[in-house]
């Protein structure tokens, strides 16, 4: 019966495990916030993976092992790393894609937003316009600290190696052009009130670029000294900067310069006018516009867009202003400029999309134009060329969207069927893309042109099933807890009963015994000539002995062992044998139905009624045969005690006391008690007690050694 400490043990175990979990989470949190967590870092562009990067503008996608942004967007950023990184060195190979602008690396960045200098951090980049390595600090505005001229002019389509280091409040940048013997240009600053930690990033301004071998590692003072060499560095603070005559301007405020080779032609036609050109007479036509998509090439002016099949073309980026001369071929709802000669005029900013509905786009009015459309995702797939194909629907209008795989699996996996997407891309009605399955296809520049507006509706099959399972699990747990509590409660009752039994044994029973002996002693000493007193004393002795016997029976009853180990029928049989003391009376026992545990209270009450009935039979009826029968049914249990003894007149009040007790007990468990008797015809006592309906199955098993006392 030492079960109570088990609860404490449980409590202690759960408290301990809670403490362990809490401690582990705390350590994990500290680990996540550590300035070393995640370092060293090396990109996986070669494997086509870049899920850890986050884009702020631009058309970032992995091509051929490099991270590429072929957009003219000013200040397009791609960020990664931990905001807790402090002293580290970031290195990468960088290639500019355009002659006008710059590209480089960001360190210690935070608060990134889409926009030219919308972040806090340090940036070092190569600028082709004035052939400089530029170093400065952005705090949602640009504070340029140092521009160091490169030994040779900075040109597009060449690999440069950039290093950018932060140690304490010292920021050092260096650039090398390995092909020309590896002369290293270094720029350095000591920022008094420096940004102490932040993420890493890739950034281009107008030029676009490709980055590869992006690598970050912890930096030491030795690294700092090694990079600085003998270069002196001056203290820098933004307040002093203006006073010291250092140029402070937004990195986007310089005017772009015009490509001298490509002169704008004079006989330029508006693109929308090309639709009217007859296909039968191919004539050379010149158009001018901004590149809205590079592969395939789409150009757009203020009137419309067109697909350009270039015979010769310089490398182009999204946002470049170009001039193209070629022949127009008209299809059913569109026209292409074929066999075109494309000239790059200058870099401009990418065009903004026109927001339309899918049914508007389906009319063909926006063919070859950069648009923004919303639609619900119906299905998604990825083909062998790592092109994502999205099938979408907006109302009754279905369409497809094609996009290069982007920066890894994350986005593709994240796109949930049924969610509402906002897509930006070039609207194409050419059957080469539509296969005549949908009225138009959207060609996206990069996966960043996909925006999830709202997720899929909650009530899909999977969630409902999951919720069902969760509910089942809850029910299961609830049932388990309920049965556990019930078990505990029962144990507590049994413990209490046992204590009561011991208490009664130690006081009541012993007192009866002592009293009995004392009365006997008095009777022994009483002179023989007082028969009346003798008779009374004998009666008193009998009464005490009877009470003692009753008390003993109660104690036996209360002791849980007798319950744990005995089924009702057997208990009654034993009781009867004890009462008969091995006498000549025949005892018949029978049982019907499946024996099963019945509630303690019912068991108890039936036993006490049975005991009383047996006692009556043995003491008063002088039977030759007593039968004990129990029957277990689905929702009741029945007990019948029958004897062939003298019986009694049911109307007489002689046996009233015992019968009243039986009735009272039966009523307490809502049982039906029937007593059939008449003189010389024996007595039949039948009790039918209702039971709670049997459960389909049981959760619990028994702790070893404990009994069968809980309720089904």
């Amino acid at each position: 019966m030492k079960r109570r400490p088990q609860i404490w043990k449980w409590l202690a175990i759960s408290l301990l495990s809670f403490a362990v979990v809490a401690g582990a989470s705390l350590l994990f949190l500290i680990y996540l916030h550590s300035p070393k967590h995640g370092l060293p870092y090396h990109d996986s562009f070669a494997q086509g993976k870049a899920d850890e990067w986050e884009a702020f503008g631009g058309t970032w996608a992995v091509y051929d092992g490099g991270m590429r942004n072929d957009s003219d967007e000013r200040g397009a950023k791609l960020m990664s790393g931990s905001p807790y990184w402090k002293n580290y060195l970031l290195e990468a190979d960088v290639m500019l894609l355009g002659e006008d602008g710059d590209a480089g690396l960001i360190i210690r960045a935070s608060d990134e937003e889409q926009g030219v200098d919308s972040y806090s951090g340090y940036y070092a980049g190569l600028r082709s316009r004035d052939n400089m390595l530029t170093l400065g600090r952005a705090s949602h505005g640009w504070l340029e600290y140092q521009n160091v001229p490169m030994p040779e002019s900075v040109q597009a389509f060449r690999w440069y190696h950039l290093r950018l280091l932060a140690y304490g409040c010292q920021i050092v940048a260096s650039a090398t052009f390995p092909l020309s013997g590896g002369h290293t240009t270094t720029a350095a600053m000591a920022d008094k009130d420096c940004l102490s930690s932040g993420r890493i990033g890739l950034r281009s301004y107008s030029a676009g670029g490709i980055w590869r071998n992006v690598h970050a590692r912890l930096a030491t003072e030795d690294d700092l000294l090694a990079m600085l060499g003998n270069k002196t560095r001056q203290p820098f603070s933004s307040e002093e900067a203006a006073g010291n005559g250092i140029t402070i301007f937004g990195s986007g405020s310089l005017p772009s310069h015009v490509n001298q080779q490509a002169r704008p032609a004079t006989n330029v036609q508006p693109i929308s006018g090309l639709r009217l050109v007859s296909g039968s007479q191919p004539t050379a036509i010149t158009i001018r516009g901004v590149v809205s998509l590079t592969a395939p090439l789409y150009v757009q002016d203020s009137t419309g867009g067109i697909a350009v099949k270039a015979a010769s073309s310089p490398p182009l980026k999204v946002g470049d202003e170009v001039q193209a001369t070629g022949t127009v071929r008209s299809g059913a709802f569109h026209s292409n400029l074929e066999n075109a000669t494309v000239q790059l005029l200058w870099a401009r900013t990418p065009v903004q999309p026109v927001s339309v509905t899918a049914s508007q786009a389906a009319t063909g009015a926006f063919a070859a134009m950069f648009i923004e459309v919303e639609g619900h995702l119906l299905s998604k797939e990825r083909d062998a060329q790592n092109t994502l194909v999205l099938n979408l629907e907006d109302g009754q209008q279905s369409f497809r969207a094609l996009v290069h795989g982007g920066r890894g699996d994350l986005l593709f996996n994240k796109l949930k069927l049924g969610s509402l997407l906002r897509l930006r891309g070039v609207c194409v009605v050419d059957s080469e893309y539509t296969n005549n399955l949908t009225p138009f296809v959207l060609l996206l520049r990069s996966t960043d042109d996909i925006e999830v507006v709202t997720g899929p509706p909650w009530w899909n099959t999977r969630h409902v099933v999951a919720a069902g399972f969760a509910l089942l699990l809850l029910l299961f747990i609830g049932q388990f807890i309920h049965s556990r509590i019930e078990q505990w409660r029962l144990r507590a009752i049994l413990e209490e009963r046992e204590m009561l039994a011991h208490e009664m044994h130690d006081t009541l029973a012993q007192s009866f015994a002592g009293l009995g002996f004392q009365l006997q002693a008095i009777r022994n000493r009483m002179p023989e000539d007082m028969p009346a007193v003798h008779k009374q004393l004998d009666l008193a002795c009998d009464l005490v002995r009877h009470s003692h016997e009753e008390a003993r029976r109660d104690i036996m009853m209360l002791r849980s062992e007798s319950f744990e180990q005995m089924e009702l029928t057997r208990m009654l049989e034993q009781c009867a044998r004890k009462m008969l003391d091995g006498g000549p009376v025949e005892i018949e026992v029978s049982q019907a139905g499946d024996i099963r545990p019945i509630p303690l209270r019912v068991n108890d009450t039936l036993f006490r009624i049975g005991q009383e009935a047996l006692a009556n039979a043995v003491r008063h009826a002088t039977p030759t045969r007593i039968s004990i029968a129990t029957a277990y049914a689905k929702n009741f249990v029945q007990m019948v005690i029958e004897d062939d003894g003298t019986g009694y007149d049911a109307g007489s009040e002689k046996k009233g006391f015992g019968v009243r007790g039986m009735k009272r007990r039966a009523a307490a468990i809502s049982a039906a008690l029937e007593i059939a008797t008449s003189p010389n015809k024996g007595t039949r006592v039948q009790v039918t007690a209702p039971l709670p309906a049997r459960m389909a199955f049981r959760w619990k098993t028994h702790p070893k050694g404990s009994g069968s006392h809980e309720q089904a």
């Binding site: 130690d506 012993q510 015994a513 004392q518 006997q520 499946d594 099963r596 049981r698 098993t701 028994h702």
Partner: protein, 213 residues
Amino acid sequence: MNRHENKAVRILIVDDHPVVQAGLASMLATHKDIEVIGSASSGEEALTMAQQDTPDIILLDLRMPGMSGIDTLRALKEAQTTARTIILTSFETDENIYRAIQAGAQGYLLKDTSQDQMLEAIATVHAGKRYIPRPIAARLAERMLRSDLTARELEILEMLAKGLTNKQIGHALAISENTVRNHVNSIMEKLEVSDRTEAVAVAIQQGIIQVAS
């Protein structure tokens, strides 16, 4: 026995309940051939008094704080006292009777026994015989027969005899099938048999269980 023949039987009462002590002493003192030489209220006290006062008979309660009746019995045996012991208790569980007799008690009485029976018991035990009332003797014999089977094992044995499977037994007794299997193994071990069929056969043969007709 001769030296006691004409003398009163010297009795030591051991019971932690003063009411019982006093009552018993008063009652026994009314008989000329009985002399209550003292009352002890614990096993330790009884041990000292038994060695000092050399009683003929010790009336011993089973349930006492500290040394239990059984412990006291064993200690008395170890101390090689000449006294014979009658257990006088309120309880008659099979296990108590069995253990008391094993520990060397010559008699077993319940406290609600009549005076005459008690006197008879004292006389019998004093004469060097055992005194165990008939129903108690019957149960003792049964207990002896059943080797060391527990009540639960006995119950399971009976169900086995009825041809129930472990699963059915587990269901009926609301215990797991595993627990039933453990019990069955224990039964086979105690009866020194190799399988359950043999266990039932042996049990019926030895009268451990009766087959219901």
